[in-house]
Structure formats: C-alpha cells, structure tokens
Symmetry: C2
Subunit: 346 residues, 2 copies
C-alpha cells in the first residue's frame, strides 16, 4: 500500500487501448462517445482506481466547481446545520465548499483573497464586506452572494430573511398583550442585522402607539444579555418586554430576570429572542424566538450564485425569505394575533 503515483487519464487510455481524450470524454456528461467505448473505459478506470483530477480540470475549464463560504464566527452556529445540506449538494455535482470562518468582519477581505486564489466559482458570504473586496470579486468574475448582509454594488446578489418584518410583527404581538415599555438588546455581527431588527421592532412599537423602545448595546454573549437586562431594569423599572437580537443573549436576559431579580417571565416581563437555537426549545427556557429558514437561504444563495455564473451581468437579485416566529412560553400573544400582525406589515 505504498503511495504510488496517482493514475492519470493516460494510464487509463493505455490500458483501454484508446486515446487520452476518449477517457476525458468518457468521464464528462455530454461527451460524444459510443456506449461501448464508454463502458470499456470505465472498466479500465475502475481497474486502476482512476478518478479525474479536479484541479487539472479546473485549470483547463477555468471553473473550479468550488464555492467559497465566509461565515462570521458569531453566526456560525446558525449556519452549522445548513452546512450539511450545502456540502451534500455540492458533493453531488462533484464540487466542494472552501470554508473560511472569520473572527471579525475586518478579516473578511483576507478571506476573500484566499478564496479568489483558489478560483472559486462563487462566494457566499455572511460577513460584512469592504467595497474593494466586492469589486475584486466582480473583476475576477466571481459571483458574490451575501446572506443577511447588504451592499450597494449592483453586481452582487443578496438573500435576506425578513428581519424587519418579523421584528415589526413581534412588536405588534407584544403590544396586543398590553405591553407598554419594551426594550431592545442589540447584538452580534457588527450590528448589521441587529439594526434591521431594531428598526422593524421600533416601527412596530410606534405603529402600536407605544413609545420607541429603549435600546442597549452589549457584546454577543449570554453574560452580555444577563448584564444588559439588569442595566435595563435599573434604567426603567416599569419594563415589561425585552426583545433580544439573539437567543444567546435572550437566555442571559431570562436568567437575570428569574434568578437574579425574581421577576416572572412572561408574567411580569416578556422575552423574545432571535435564531431559534436548540436551547430555546428546552424546557428550562421555552423561549419564543424567530426561526430563519437557514437551509433555504443558503440553497437560495447557491442558486443565485450559479445563475450569476452562467449569466454574469444579470441584474442584481435580492430574495427575501419568510421567517417564522416560534411561539413558546416567554411571550403571551396568541398565534393568531401574530399572524395578523404579519399581514399588516405586508
């Protein structure tokens, strides 16, 4: 079992007694080869354990079959599940995903460069990108698709979930239960989606005749949420609802309320999160939260990217997916009123 030289199409050709290009054809979907020849070649290939070298193919075709993905460290968890689907799909078409997890948005540019070096066909990015990075992609003819991120460039597609819409609906839902003093906790990802969610939430509050919600910033952690809740309480003792930009922070909020202050959730203060992490369903939290259709979003992104590869100058597309609020036990409006609120918004 020593590491022998990898078999090439020449080896197969020789064994099968055909030309090398015949081998190439036998391994491409639409190569014009007779069935007989194809069989003969495949047989020879199997005997040798030959598989086409994807790198060499890439060089010749100018397409690598690779898709680059840039994920922000903080949102990684939400993407984890969806990653299964995406690698599977790409695997079926013989491609792969080149992953870059970035710690901070500032590193995204560097990540892009590496991806570009490997001639990825497209980049799916859930991190903020500099304009130069976006331009670089365009110049290199690489399709770029942002996920829950925005850009001015007319040549990059975007897929969003309706961050503002659900947040709006949540405000209405909360208001329908008599909430008067709502607060919002800012969160992760350089605040980009946080801002969207706040805007929606804020607009919803106003629409419902409430004051604009107070807001507070914190880092992206459980502890951050915990501390933020305490601070919020100091600022406004009449608080009766907290919407956190992220489940992780919402858990912190709940625990600060329940364990540190002895405040009942949702009786005294209602809590809503975002992301629908697994933990949200656990009996100890049962957090009402928002579920974005991550798998759908990512698949949509792959789709947009592929279309753009085929047709590079097609106009910018932006697809918005519907999120769902998962009603559990930390907020008390009825599903019906939530649905209604959603309708109002559209």
């Amino acid at each position: 079992m020593s590491a022998t030289r990898r078999k090439t199409s020449y080896d197969v050709a020789q064994l099968a007694g055909v030309s090398q290009s015949a081998v190439s054809r036998a391994f491409s979907e639409d190569g014009s080869v007779s069935q007989k020849m194809r069989d003969k070649i495949r047989a020879a290939a199997d005997e040798l354990g030959y598989r086409p070298n994807a790198i060499a193919r890439s060089l010749g075709k100018g397409q690598s079959g690779l898709i680059g993905m840039i994920i922000n460290r903080h949102s990684q968890q939400s993407y984890a599940a969806a990653l299964t689907g995406i690698t599977e799909i790409l695997r079926e078409s013989g491609g792969g995903v080149l992953l870059q997890v970035v710690d901070a948005d500032s590193l995204a540019d560097e990540a892009i460069a590496t991806l570009l070096d490997y001639q990825v066909d497209a980049i799916i990015c859930s991190s903020v990108l500099s304009n130069t990075a976006a331009e670089q992609c365009a110049k290199s003819g690489v399709a770029l698709c942002l996920v829950n991120r925005q850009t001015d460039s007319m040549l990059v597609d975007e897929v969003f979930s309706d961050n503002e819409g659900v947040s709006f609906a949540i405000a209405l839902g909360l208001a329908s239960t008599g909430v008067q003093n709502a607060a919002y906790i800012y969160g992760p990802e350089s605040g980009f989606v946080s801002r969207l969610r706040f805007q929606g939430f804020s607009a919803g509050c106003v629409q419902a005749g409430l004051a604009k919600p107070s807001k507070i910033y914190c880092d992206f952690t459980y502890q951050g949420g915990y501390d933020a809740a305490l601070e919020l309480l100091d600022l406004n003792p009449n608080l009766d609802a907290i919407f956190a930009a992220t489940d992780t922070m919402a858990f912190g909020v709940m625990d600060a309320l329940r364990y540190s202050k002895g405040i009942a959730v949702p009786d005294t203060i209602q809590v809503v999160g975002f992301d629908d992490e697994a933990t949200a369903a656990y009996r100890a939290y049962q957090l009402t939260s928002v579920r974005q259709p991550m798998a759908v979003m990512l698949l949509e992104a792959v789709d947009l990217a592929r279309n753009r590869i085929k047709n590079p100058k097609s106009p910018k597309r932006r697809v918005e997916t519907k999120s769902k609020v998962i009603q559990r036990k930390t907020a008390t409006w009825t599903i019906q009123s939530a649905i209604d609120s959603g309708r109002n918004q559209n």
Copy 2:
C-alpha cells in the same frame, strides 16, 4: 467593473520587462531572485492586481495546500468554534479548508472521494471511515488524521482526548459522594466515543466497588435524553447518578428529572454531561460536564498531517489530549477528589 480576464504571471512579466519565470520566483519564498528584481516585479503585480493562481500552482507542484475536513453532522457543534482557528492558520500559509459535513458515517467514503479529487494534501476526519477509504488515502499519498476515531491502519494518525480517562474519573468522583446506582446514556457518532466513555465510566464504577452502571441507548437529541431518563427511572427507582455521553442529552435528562418527575438535581440524582456546550454554563442548567480541548486537538491534527505530508512513511502517531471536567452544580464531588481520581487513573 466588467469581468476582465484574470491577470497572469505573463502579464506581470511583460509589464516588468522580465521573464515569466522570474515572476514565479518573485512570488515564492525561496526563489533565487535579486531584491531589486523582486521589488520591481511585486510593484508591477500590485499595479495589475495580480495574485498567483493557486489552482495552477497546485497542478504544477502536486500539492494543493488544501486540507480536507470531514465532520459528522452530530459533532459539528463541538467543532464549530475550533474551525475558526483552523481556517485562520491555513489562510496564513495560503491554504484553505475543504469542508464536508456528513449526515451519517456511511457518507464519509463519498466525501473522501470528493476531497481526493481535489488533491487535498491531507484529510482530517471526525467520522468513522471504511478501510477502503483509508487505503484510498494512503494509495493517493494523502495524509489522514482521525479525530476521536480509531483505525487499524498503521499509516493514519490519530488524535484523541482521553475519553476513557475522564469518564473513569467521573465514576470515581460520583462514587466518592456515595452514589450507588449509576446509569449511562449512550450517544452520538455511531456510538464510537460513546463506547469509550462507557468503558471508562464502567471501569471506574467497578474500581469504586459499585455495580456496573446500567446503560441505555437513545438517539442523539434532547428529547432522546429526556425519554431515556424516564425509562431509566422505571427500570431502577433507586437511580442516583446519570452520566450522558453528550450535553444535549444531559439537558434532556435534567429536565425530565426536574420537570416531569420533580426529582432534585443533584440532591437526589446527579447528572454529568460531555462536551461542555455553551448551554451547560447557563444558570438554568449549570451542568457538570467535560471539556475537550477541541482547538488543540484540531491543531494537533493539522500538525500530524503536515508531518506526514513531509514524511509519508513515518510510523503511526497517536496523540492524546487531556480533557477537563468542568465542575458546576449537577454533581457534588469536590474538585480535589476529581483530581485525585484522575491521578489514580494514570
């Protein structure tokens, strides 16, 4: 900003008035080029926005700089954090991570094939692998390193955490508090690490003079843990400790105990988990759990792989890392006794 043809080393050569091979040298660490020439070339390259094509380089060198990673869907969460570090390191050396997330171990072989097609230099795998897949790697001269997985092959390295050791220590710790009837809940990953952990736990119980722990299988979920706990309770009403192969299941166990049965944790039944998920630290759980040094393990894996690339026939290496039990509130032995137990084991 139309997608112009990508600049090549020839373009740079022409601009700088030198040969193409000079450009190549200017971009390789140890190319023999005068400083003056290097500067001139780099300047020209910058002007053109040139970056070497990693795919072409791979083809020429026979090394892609790519590392393939295969992660089992169920263990993905534990790897998520460590992925940041790994992509970063590889990025620095100009390489990348080709990721494959597999749903079931049975898909790992297919994943390997795809990875091999792209000529990855090494594969880091946290999924069970067939022998043929392992042989395929060896035959292709691709370094293979398993993480928390085992194989007979003498040519693949392994990095483990001391699954058995900590589990043994946990048994002793539990026993030191007077536990009499311990149970174990099997878990994820085709049971491979589950088995290791059970063996260690079981041995620890015996060593402490207890009966062998009862065990029960369940799927890998919160609900699975929940149901398993209930069943265990039926089987043995005197149960006083449950060790779950995974935190996720342990959360289910705790909630079944507390909310469904009104049983106090840890007063009546102690619970210990494995993985130290973020949720374990939350106030509502405060689960005593085991933290494996994932980042270290993965880095170690990269290191092993790189060494094997340099020296393909070096003897099999197996590195075992130390896990740490994180004492929180669901088990009552003291840290000191845990440390002592650990010592006994070594």
